[in-house]
């Protein structure tokens, strides 16, 4: 997300949610949930209302479709900017890799069906 104040004062629902213009349905929902967690209604009702209104408006398929089809006139992003942005977002581990972190090869392995077949 860009500047916090800028986002809050924007009328563009995607800017309020801090999303790029070509955000997908999943990204919109994901970002909305993140923001709701960050600004719950009991803690920041004004901001929550902004976020909710923005989500509701962008939830409209027609509006989302309009956003997706608008061509971007901006100059292309710098490679450095992209890399710096990615540096700030370490990748998450896939479920398989995550579970494999708990492996214990020093302990005895059970005889699995795959092994018995071999």
């Amino acid at each position: 997300m860009s500047n916090e104040k800028e986002v809050a004062s924007s009328d563009d629902p995607l800017q309020v949610l801090g999303l790029p213009r070509n955000a997908t349905e999943q990204q919109v929902r994901q970002r909305y949930l993140e923001l709701v967690r960050e600004f719950p209604p009991e803690r920041d009702p004004v901001r929550f209302q902004q976020i909710y209104a923005a989500y509701k408006s962008i939830e409209d398929p027609l509006m989302l479709a309009n956003r997706l089809l608008i061509q971007d006139d901006d100059p292309p992003r710098n490679w450095d900017d992209i890399l710096n942005e990615q540096k700030a977002k370490p990748p998450r581990l896939s479920v398989e890799v995550l579970l494999s972190l708990g492996n214990q090869t020093s302990a005895k392995q059970p005889i699995t069906s795959e092994m018995s077949d071999e």
Partner: protein, 833 residues
């Protein structure tokens, strides 16, 4: 090789367990990542094993299996960044369940990913050390220790870390902290591309780099999915913004597009649409997208698919409705004739795809009305449009039930055609809605009035018409002049053949007007009477005498008194607001409008704008404005007399209304009139007249929405820009200067910021149009709307080479690109080799 053979012959070296090390290269990390998978150890808790082993999972008791399924879902949710959903998913697992460990683990994992390491530790420290969740948590925690970057040996003091956990921690450290792929990407992307010097300044993405990105993305998709996605998106973006079709072709073929366009068919359609002569290819891609790709795209919801389809057809309809012959100064004059059938087809396709597309409904109806309002059109040409309007309004009302405009129109239409049953639901809906539009609140009045008119159709019904007229009088809206009511009563008498009563009523009208200090205007009197008589179904023979004074006025329209014209226009404004225009209105309305517009071009005399006449003049200007006389379809042509009125609100409302009624591209100019829009909005808040209060506010609201939109919609259609040349071409500026001659100090161009126009605008109390003060910025936006092959669009100040001709066949071989002659880059490569 020989050395290896020797080794094979000798005694094999003793196998040693490899020490855990950090993955220094992305390739090594990638290989390591592809090897890892969870493996159960002997004696591991069955529930833990079931989390990753389907066979064990299948053998679990149903209760336990359902909890394991929840754990699996939760882990996937955390991976997909839906942390709060993951925690909720596991709330149902009790503390006594063997899977409660996983609930604690997931809670900590969500915090750990959000960099709440201490909070994560608080959850994880309660985990059973012998179980898998605890081991994973320890590996994750250890991955943060910088000592891992220094040494390959485990920390002797840390008994909780065995060699497996240390290896796992190293892996996590490599994936999330060291990230060698980022370093490799930075090295490659910061390297200067080898591109011929004459192309270097316009090339956003060279062939070598594109190939590198494609290879990189294929290799590290698993390790760095987000980085890969970002690089792919950036490469596609660059390929779309540069003029070399071959690069674009490779990029779109090798890199999948966004979810709504995975095969890049739509983006290629937009890309080729920017080239002169690329229309056929653009249409071909668009057709493939609409018929094959989009209907089968499961990555987006069906509603989004329909919405995209609708918008694409709508864009086609817009282009068909306003064809252009290139982006030249003569474009609008050389444009081919409109293929009305194609326009209708495109609008219908847009509405079939997504019936709730309010914008498409509104534009379709506006387009039909534009033709119906064309008084020069012959009856035979008008008739097809008359047949279109009712189904269009009905479809609008059905598709967008909350819209009042189609309902108001349908009520009138059904009552006019005696379709009471069809009209009723709309009347009930309008009467029941608490809409702030005063026209909606006036529905009962309109119903009574239209009923009175309907009852005049047959002599046997005439006796009931008076009751209805009385009822309408009771409900007469406060915002509407009651002057016409007396004429309606007189017309009813005429219809009932009560000639004496009719004559008396006409005399009474005159006397009452005189008594109220408002001398009657003969022309307005005649027009009101004719309008009332036609609505009350007075026979044609008797209408003849009522037409005569109007026909005479039309013949000598240039000699009419200015104030008489204003009064007539004011009455016509009332008819427009209530949608009560009578049939003969078409015969003379336009002529009076043209004459009044002509008079407004010169300065007004002070006597013409006395306070009593000011409201009539305001109404007259609003009437003219809705007739689209203040624009030539490309720019505003506000009359000079508006300045002398010293009415900034009138100018602002007229400007906003004109632009809203104009076609989409001209509506884009609204973004330059934010000050005027604010003025209209403020006036709406202060206005006491309910009609104007609502109207001003709705005008301001619609104008703000339009101003916020991208004025040229999708880039594919940006090449049809009748304004691009006018804003950037000096010749045109000179033309405009001629139009707004210096000798008339009160004339001004509402968009111009030259000293004379600024001074005139200030005298009129009109604020400067809000526009970017950065000239470069404004030029850039105009340039961005031009076709890609236009020099202004290229990021350099030298003549670009002719862009690659759009071509698909034969496919471009990347090797051929590297080895083809006349490419200095290749000679360098050969030398390097």
């Amino acid at each position: 090789m020989a050395k290896n053979r020797k080794q094979k012959k000798g005694k094999p070296p003793k196998r040693r367990k490899p020490q855990p090390t950090l993955a220094q290269s992305p390739g090594r990390l990638q290989r390591r990542m592809s090897r890892v998978r969870p493996i159960a150890w002997l004696g591991e808790v069955e529930a833990d094993v079931a989390v990753f082993d389907d066979q064990v999972f299948a053998g679990l008791a149903p209760e336990l299996a359902s909890e394991v399924a929840l754990v699996r879902e939760a882990l996937q949710l955390v991976t997909d960044s839906f942390g709060s959903d993951a925690n909720k998913r596991l709330e149902s697992i009790s503390r006594r369940s063997p899977l409660s460990e996983w609930r604690l683990f997931v809670r900590g994992l969500v915090l750990w990913y959000d960099e709440g390491f201490d909070d994560a530790q608080e959850n994880w420290k309660r985990l059973d050390l012998q179980r898998r969740p605890s081991r994973i948590a320890r590996a994750l925690t250890a991955s943060k220790k910088t000592v891992l970057e220094q040494t390959d040996t485990p920390d002797a003091n840390d008994k909780l870390l065995d060699s497996d956990l240390l290896a796992a921690a190293n892996l996590v450290h490599s994936v999330r902290v060291a990230r060698p792929a980022i370093a490799e990407a930075a090295r490659e992307l910061n390297r200067r591309e080898r591109i011929p010097s004459e192309l270097a300044r316009i090339s956003l993405l060279g062939p070598e780099r594109l190939e590198w990105i494609i290879d990189f993305c294929a290799q590290y998709r698993q390790v760095e999915p987000q980085l890969v996605d970002a690089l792919k998106q950036a490469a596609l973006d660059r390929a779309m913004k540069q003029p070399f079709a071959d690069i674009n072709q490779i990029a779109t073929a090798k890199i999948s597009g966004p979810p709504h366009d995975p095969k890049n068919l739509l983006s290629q359609s937009i890309y080729y649409g920017k080239f002169e002569g690329g229309e056929i290819k653009a249409e071909s891609f668009l057709s493939q997208y609409l018929t094959k790709s989009l209907p089968n795209n499961e990555m987006i919801s069906p509603k989004l698919r329909s919405a995209i389809e609708s918008l694409l057809h709508l864009e086609d309809a817009r282009n068909e409705a306003r064809p252009s012959y290139g982006d030249t100064i003569f474009g609008r004059f050389l444009a081919p004739p409109v293929d009305e059938k194609a326009v209708i087809k495109s609008y219908k396709l847009a509405l079939e795809a997504y019936p709730a597309n309010a914008e498409a409904h509104r534009e379709y109806v506006d387009w039909i009305r534009e033709h119906l309002d064309d008084e020069r059109m012959r009856k035979s040409l008008r008739e097809p449009f008359e047949k279109l309007i009712q189904p269009a309004m009905k479809a609008w009302s059905d598709g967008v039930p909350d819209e009042i405009e189609p309902r108001l129109w349908l009520v009138d239409h059904y009552l006019e055609n005696e379709q009471l049953e069809e009209a009723k639901p709309h009347v009930q809906w309008l009467a029941g809605s608490r809409h702030s539009d005063p026209r909606v609140r006036a529905t009962p009045w309109k119903w009574e009035l239209l009923e009175a008119m309907r009852l005049c159709r047959r002599k046997t019904w005439l006796s009931h018409a008076q009751e209805k007229l009385d009822a309408a009088e009771q409900l007469w809206p406060t915002w509407l002049s009651r002057d016409w009511l007396a004429y309606l009563r007189a017309a009813l008498m005429l219809r009932q053949n009560k000639m004496q009563a009719y004559e008396a009523a006409r005399i009474d009208i005159r006397q009452q007007r005189l008594a109220s200090g408002r001398p009657i205007c003969e022309l307005t009197d005649a027009v009101m009477m004719l309008g009332a008589a036609q609505h009350m179904r007075v026979p044609a023979a008797e209408l003849k005498s009522l037409r005569e004074p109007i026909d005479a006025a039309v013949k000598s329209v240039a000699n009419l008194d200015f104030n008489h014209l204003v009064q007539v226009a004011s009455f016509f404004w009332d008819l427009y607001r209530t949608n009560m225009q009578y049939p003969a209105y078409r015969m003379h309305g336009g002529k009076f409008a043209t004459e009044l517009h002509r008079r407004l071009q010169s300065k007004l005399k002070p006597a013409d704008v006395t306070p009593e006449r000011r409201s009539n003049l305001r109404d007259a200007i609003y009437w003219l404005s809705q007739r689209r006389v203040f624009s030539d379809g490309y720019k505003l042509t506000l009359p000079r007399s508006l300045i002398s009125l010293d009415e900034p609100l009138l100018v602002a409302v007229t400007t906003v209304q004109c632009l809203l009624l104009s076609h989409r591209m001209m509506r884009g100019q609204l973004q330059n009139y934010n000050a005027q829009i604010s003025l209209v909005r403020e006036a709406g808040a202060k206005e006491t007249d309910p009609y104007y209060r609502y109207w001003y506010q709705s005008l301001a609201e619609r104008a703000s929405e339009e101003a916020a939109k991208n004025p040229f919609g999708m880039g594919r259609f940006g090449s049809i820009d009748p304004f691009g040349w006018s804003a950037s071409d000096d010749e045109d500026d000179e033309e405009e200067d001629d139009d707004w001659s210096d000798d008339d100090e009160d004339s001004f161009d509402p968009e111009c910021d030259c000293p004379s126009c600024t001074a005139a605008r200030e005298r009129a109390g009109i604020p400067l149009p809000s526009r970017s003060t950065n000239k470069d910025e404004s030029n850039r936006s105009f340039a961005a709307r031009r076709p890609m092959n236009d020099q202004m669009d290229l990021p350099l100040d030298l003549d670009p080479p002719k862009p690659s001709t759009p071509r698909i066949d034969p496919p471009i071989d990347p090797d051929f690109r590297r080895t083809r002659p006349k490419n200095p880059m290749d000679t360098k490569r050969k030398k390097g080799r």
